[in-house]
Symmetry: C2
């Protein structure tokens, strides 16, 4: 923490966004240390441990708020701990040289086993919730907005903690009153997404929000091979996990977008390369991302209707893929709830049997001794049942949103000039399609 | 459900927003029945039971999403059940005659005992989260927006379930492209807030969002005395709970706001009066609210800076009151967490003692018999500890948001032309004030 504070003070960024600051005391310590350079700061509190998200800014923070993800792993996976953090997305609103800048910082559920990833559905649901939150708050949830985006596929390799973002060259926009109800001019999303660039969640997020990836956009990148943010050179990284990826993985991102009338680009992007920028052991297990962004005025552009083009199909295809993943998740959550309800039934039978044994004498002591585990089994199964019921509701809520968006995308395609064949979802959507 | 369906079909509203539809089967039943009149529908899924929120619309729903409240009662208050519902706010975006309409439907935590309301803090936190969500999504979270609102105090009497809203006279707005990123033209919030008009949560919501109360605004009201939505005439209502309120209570609302350039008014407001509109037993324990709203073009108005006026002080005073309530809640949540940690310690000692007894023979059977309750105590206290830690985090997150907003309100007042004396929050804010 001491060295991280020194580093942030020395670099003097406009904005520093951190994840995995689990202790509020650590935040307070950093806050005191950084006060002269970064007068504004905020710690996003949620869950039992805390979201781990915090931010330090050279410029006043106008507003902030947060959205906690509905689904975030399983409470009984205590050794993974994600559930206890209450992972969230934090939003800051900054006014810079007359621009309204909405900055999002987030940390999605970790991936502990890429081959058999039990958290995949939750991460896809989180990516969707994140995309919807950004869309709602910054980009305008007005029905058509999904279709006027600069759509990009996730391509190229990989990145990751202590994202450091520097903004400059923000031009002054004269005469724009900032006290009227308006959307953001610039949207910035930074964070540890725990998603590789080609992963479903990452593609869904980019396609649905139209956010651009600084690593893929910039012409001036310096840092780790292929922009990786978790690299084998870092001594805190588990080398065995990175075996299939010789350069490392890119799972931390700086993503951005400007509304019509503005143009944003990434002038430079830097990462640390497995150790402290000035020698010594690294400041984190993830590499820091440092971006210099440039926002300029631009003439309002003609926005074509990409639903009818290849990008539209790309959006539809990623929406369909996400829908299928969530559908699978709903089925799985219901299976677990059903399984838990059978265990409850068995536990009740066992308890009744033990009571009868205890009353009848004989193996009384053994029967009484077994009460504790059987009551434990019953309570545990009850908790698992409730949890998975809630998981099924959460997933089917997200699935219904995707279903709706897909329906509208298909309508738009059908009514399009090329009149492409309707993209039907197939029978497996039966229980969702009846909904508007 | 059959009679509710008949009623909705016969009345043929533009939009019908329901709460407490706990069963998804009931929703599907209604959906089938209402399909010819209301082609669009959505059920908001969340929690274990479900949010109970659903909507039927004559017009296509462009987008929908939901936000589940961070705090919503206690899981161990099983007989109250609110925690299991995952109470939420649902958002629908409609395009009507060229207008973008954002409709919110919600249901806040119930009030079971007004004299000793253990859920007060949670309801205030929900009201704040609701206000922030509306502000973010529809009204523009751009720093200054808090101060350009038509501020109104909650005054006058009372209303309540199955809010039914009819919109008409929506003028066509020519040439406004709806596929660009923009905020809503009209914001509508309907729901069972479980708040009396003068309750802190209600005042906070109205002051912070600038939403207007249809009952207080309309010139043409017909229905129950003082607009009550829970009345003693209703046979499903607990008469004893309503004893202090001879006319009943007003806890269901239709609230609205239009952006500059539009003007919204409530032409007529109706409520049912304790029984089915056509005789017979009532359709719900709450009275239905039926509003006819009218949206017109209006010249953009000059917005004064109310922070310096009496309304600004009113906003500051309600923000301060809410801050204090949340601060109290944080202290209480921490007290419970500390208490639970002592119980955990005691439970561990007891368990060790029982193990020693069982090993030593003598009262072995009794010792083993007591294992089950002591392990139960331990697990229960552990759960209570975790829950209240999470409650404290959630409440202090909301408190930090209020703190920030208050700081900015004070700055605005201090720099105002009248230069009013600074409204300082006093010493009790110590642990929050150091934050930006």
């Amino acid at each position: 923490m001491k060295r991280l504070g020194d580093f942030l003070n020395m670099e003097s960024f406009d904005l520093a966004l951190l994840e995995e600051v689990w202790s509020e005391q650590d935040f307070q310590h950093l806050r005191q240390k950084l006060l002269p350079t970064y007068p504004a700061a905020h710690y996003f509190r949620s869950g039992i441990i805390g979201s781990g998200l915090c931010v330090f800014s050279k410029h006043p923070i106008q507003e902030f708020t947060q959205h906690v993800y509905t689904l975030n792993g399983y409470p009984y996976m205590i050794h993974h701990g994600d559930w206890f953090c209450g992972k969230a997305v934090g939003l800051l609103v900054l006014h810079l040289s007359g621009l309204v800048l909405n900055v999002y910082v987030t940390h999605l559920h970790a991936e502990y086993n890429r081959q058999k990833d039990i958290y995949l559905t939750h991460r896809v649901a989180q990516a969707w919730e994140l995309a919807q939150f950004i869309q709602c708050v910054s980009l305008g949830l007005t029905g058509e907005v999904g279709w006027d985006q600069g759509l990009r596929g996730g391509q190229g390799p990989t990145y990751r903690r202590a994202e450091l973002v520097r903004e400059e060259c923000l031009p002054h926009r004269p005469g724009s009153p900032s006290h009227t109800s308006k959307k953001a001019d610039v949207v910035l999303l930074c964070g540890d997404l725990n998603l590789h660039p080609k992963d479903l969640g990452c593609r869904l997020l980019k396609e649905w929000t139209g956010l651009h990836d600084a690593y893929l956009e910039t012409r001036d990148f310096k840092g780790s091979e292929e922009g990786c943010t978790m690299v084998p050179e870092n001594c805190y990284v588990n080398q065995r996990e990175l075996e299939p990826f010789p350069f490392g993985i890119r799972i931390d991102y700086v993503l951005y977008k400007a509304v019509s009338g503005f143009y944003i680009s990434c002038k430079t992007l830097r990462t640390t390369t497995g150790h402290d920028p000035h020698s010594g052991s690294p400041l984190s297990d993830h590499e820091a991302l440092m971006a210099t962004l440039c926002v300029r005025h631009s003439p309002p552009q003609h926005t074509p209707s990409p639903t009818h083009g290849p990008e539209g199909s790309q959006l539809i295809s990623v929406l369909k893929e996400a829908w299928r993943e969530l559908d699978l998740g709903v089925a799985q959550a219901r299976w677990w709830a059903t399984f838990a309800s059978y265990v409850i039934g068995l536990g009740l039978l066992l308890l009744a049997f033990l009571c009868a044994l205890a009353a009848g004498g004989g193996v009384r002591e053994v029967a009484i001794l077994l009460w504790t585990p059987s009551v434990g089994l019953l309570l545990g199964a009850g908790a698992v049942y409730l949890f998975h019921m809630q998981e099924a509701k959460g997933l089917s809520g997200a699935r219904a949103e995707l279903q709706h968006v897909l329906g509208r995308a298909r309508e738009a395609q059908d009514s399009g000039p090329e009149s492409q064949p309707a993209l039907l979802l197939g029978q497996q959507e039966g229980d969702g399609t009846e909904e508007q």
